[in-house]
Symmetry: C2
Subunit: 226 residues, 2 copies
DNA sequence: TTACGCAATAACGTATTCATTGTTGCATTA
DNA sequence: TAATGCAACAATGAATACGTTATTGCGTAA
């Protein structure tokens, strides 16, 4: 009735993928959660075929593990895993920052970046860590997208997703991320000045530090994994 | 009879994946090749189910595209694609080089790196570009593996694979890659000196240059894609 | 001749079926 | 009690079956 003709029918396999993904990221399927294909299929209300397809994709993206005869298992994230992930993100996002600075960003793009930095500042003033996390995510997202490199954006997204659960756990425990805001503002400045070396340098330093901070936190708090 | 008990039975889906992958990389299924699921399954001598699984994986890895009702299509690689891929490889491999230099490599590892550089030198003396390409690949492979970052190694591998066909096409046409050998040797030196900044710098510069050279070649030779 | 519409077809997405094989639990034995 | 062997079971990997729907080809009309 509504939307006559624009029936965007989503295939079951895709629906299964998004549903499982969101359950995992929301910790409704926490790290270590295990279930057979049939169990998952039943929960999703479909057959094993599209379920399997979704699980294969999630395995490729590093969120779950498939062990024959044991079904899927939601992967825990150890501090070593986080180290790997942050090393990758550091390299890739720094590339993106340099690339954006080199080719230059238009006014709209600059405005969007600045607006996300402003949101981060405001969130910090309000001690609103949820908003801060959202604005921070937006900044990183914009940055890699403005690089114009679709593959890069997609890889970064995959690893951000892998790290998402751990970040969610620690954001409340970390010191006020004042430095992050400053670093982001500096990256925007470098982009405005078309100074790609500086953009690279600043962003890399920022990612390195925040990665080390996060890993330190996880270790101190005794999260060997998850 | 032979190998009693150690029957390493490969699942059809995995066999299909490797078979298709090798056909694509060897250009037996050239860019643009198109076939339905049923056709591919018939060629592989199995049903659509494991075939489909293999195709999904190849799609995730960026080698083919799946279009409903049209089957799979081997993706062409345009110069823009190569630009994206090389930008990613530059960032990631430079990270790896820095990481290896920072944590240090043991004698065996150094020896392996040096041996691959030596092979590259020898291949160059003999004008044997196939051997050169193999030794070059080995160097890059060793480098990312010695970083100890499994995720990084695996992502690099995926993008190297995407670029493989284009590189194969151009290696015979490019100028003698003397600079590559020098750069690789310099990276090894930086690793030996535990100079991570230098390793980063040299490797990044090398990747940037060879990427630009390759893209220039593709453009000059009028390969808009493939 | 070109555009349009309809019917036949073919391909996919999903469900179901089936054989194979690893796992689990229990009974037996040292 | 702990270890071993066997039988029942359960989960997967693969094949097949089936309904839906986009595409293609042909005939008709402008």
């Amino acid at each position: 009735m509504t939307n006559p003709g624009i029936e965007a029918k989503i295939p079951y396999s895709r629906a299964a993928y998004w549903q499982l993904r969101s359950w995992i990221l929301d910790n409704e399927m926490p790290a270590g959660y295990q279930a057979t294909e049939q169990e998952v299929a039943s929960v999703l209300g479909m057959s094993r075929t599209p379920t399997r397809e979704a699980m294969l994709r999630l395995e490729n993206e590093g969120l779950i593990e498939l062990r024959s005869r044991h079904g899927m298992r939601v992967l825990p994230i150890s501090t070593d895993d986080m180290r790997e992930i942050y090393e990758i993100l550091t390299g890739l996002e720094a590339s993106a920052a340099a690339s954006v600075a080199e080719k230059g960003a238009n006014e709209t793009e600059i405005a969007e970046l600045e607006s996300s930095v402003a949101d981060m500042d405001q969130a910090l003033d309000n001690d609103d860590l949820d908003s801060w996390m959202a604005a921070d995510a937006r900044f990183h997202h914009l940055l890699v997208n403005f690089s114009g490199n679709k593959r890069l954006a997609s890889v970064v997204d995959i690893f951000l997703t892998q790290a998402a659960r751990a970040r969610k756990l620690t954001v409340k425990l970390r010191p006020k991320p004042t430095k992050s805001n400053i670093a982001h503002a500096a990256v925007v400045d470098a982009i405005k000045n078309r100074d790609s070396d500086n953009a690279w340098q600043v962003h890399m330093q920022h990612r390195k530090e925040s990665g080390e901070m996060l890993i330190g936190l996880l270790q101190d708090l005794g999260f060997p994994h998850l």
